[in-house]
Amino acid sequence: MNTIRLPVGAIIDRAIDFLVEHLSFLTKAGADIIETVLGAIERGLIAIPTPGFIALAALAIWLLTKDRKLCLGSIIGLILIWNMGLWAATVSTIALVAVSTFCALAIGIPLGIMAAISSFLNKIVTPILDIMQTMPAFVYLIPAIPFFGLGKTAAIFSTVVFSMPPAIRFTYLGIRQIPTDLVECSTAFGATRWQRLIKLDLPLAAPTIMAGINQTVMLALSMVVIASMIGAKGLGGEVWKAIQRLQMGRGFEAGIAIVIVAIILDRVLQKLGAPKQQQKEAV
């Protein structure tokens, strides 16, 4: 078997080496920018006194969802995190997730729209997405280091790659699922492709796209934890530290904090994703 071994790994090594050699000055510069932005966000968030932060979060959740139970649960959960002494780590994780999600959506949603419009592009994107989604998450960590160096930017890079596929897939799906008679109707009334996108495709696909955004946020959160191995710090960093020191209790505390953040984000996003018409009918 060894006599005919194909040099897959070697080829990838050489390709990445080549890219690193010629691109790393760019990526490193990018890393600096992201590091600065992220640092600013983190400092801004941590500057808010914790009780004030929790109150603000509760208010925002109330305004967005009008869900009393969710609001109350969030307050209790966040106080528990604060009480466990994990506040700074949590804020750091939230900032990482926010920046990664923003990048993933900024790339993923337009890409999904383009794939829905051009079947040629879709043929290219689909297999890449398949690879991205089945590749073990840890593998993304390796190339992130030579490009961005150990640290938060490398973590954001691998998180973006890992969490982007649902944003693309759900956007594509949402637009492709528009009933054909509505599409035909917009054409029959002389809509341009752009008009159709703005007036028909995106409004009708919005609930599906929201579901994609939810998925992206959840994946980002899970990846941010894994990315603690390459210096993401935050709650993942706490877990990583606990593993290395075999502190089970500490590890679980950090784990519980991650679960609380995940549940709050998930429920809020689900509420936002429910189509307005249905809410109206339910009343």
């Binding site: 009933p179 008679d181 509505l182 035909e184 109707c185 917009s186 054409t187 029959a188 009334f189 002389g190 809509a191 341009t192 008009q195 007036k199 028909l200 409004p203 009708l204 307005k276 018409q277 109206k280 009918e281």
Partner: protein, 397 residues
Amino acid sequence: MAKIQVQHLYKIFGPHPNRAMKMLKQGKSKDEIMTAIRHGVGVNNATFDVHEGETVVVMGLSGSGKSTLVRCLNRLITPTAGSILVDGQDVLTMDDSELRELRQRKMGMVFQNFALFPHRTVLENAAMGLEMQGVPVAERLRKADEALALVGLEAWGASYPNELSGGMQQRVGLARAMALSPDILLMDEAFSALDPLIRRDMQDELINLQDKMRKTIVFISHDLDEALKLGDRIILMKDGAIVQIGTPEEILTDPATDYVARFVQDVDITKVLTAESVMKRSEAVAYLRTDGPRTALRKMRKHNIAHLFVVDQNNQLVGIISADGAAALAAEGKDRLSDAICTDIKIVSSTTPAQDLFTIMADLPYPLAVTDENNRFKGVIVRGTLVAAIAERRGAA
């Protein structure tokens, strides 16, 4: 000049339309082409005109190509060959912006399943076509409101489509098309998804609107009764080809092929036949000014009838005189008919459907007079001729 002129139009579905075209020209059928090279024949050599202000119903069973044909008219489907002229402009050579212009201003379309945007209010839906034209918000909402008023839905502008019944939704669909004030309305099975009672209401409403607006309408239907009711002319299609074009009565009474004959044989012919088509054009009338009782009696004897309709010099119907009445006048030596004329008689207009005639004629002791809109005498219907005329048409169909 015709509003829409379609000539030798073909639509082949499949990757190699030319091969299918060649087979069609060799006289191969739709099914043969499907089995041989897996190509669908949507429209096969369709040629017809639609005149300004006319309602043409394209009718046929599902798969007959009628929906494909109408989608070729605004190029939702691009034909394989042939030509389509709208107001003399060739639709097939239009570029994208000319085509949008045509769709935005000249042709409004109404769809079988309404195709309303669920995330928009009724008013916003009605304004959609104008929105695509880039009409400013205030103006397009005003026009949409007028269009909604036209279909009686002005009070529903703020509702969402899913709060409306099917019939109301289709009114919105109609208003959306009308808001463009297009010359041409394309209606694709517009009423087929509605239940029968609502469908009939909508048909009546369309006829009313059409009386006011005089649009050029191309209406797709698989329902023969609907076609007969709405169509000034009917285009009957089978397997993508046109088998007959004609007025409803021509289609019924003079079917071009066995297929048409079979298609129409279940129609209740009394719905389509009018008083005019079953009446006898009688020369036997008495003239009020010139004819005396003896002349009237002679005319009755000659035509072997017991009653005679009396008309004035303008051929306007005055009344009826019986043989007994005329004989009595003659015996008294009077030479004017006026004293014995019965003026209280039943009259029908020439457009009355034949099915209504049976009830009108029940227990009528004398024949029924048929007049035109100016009360001019056109002919008579007696029970025997009514039944005979219907039996004869039915036998032919």
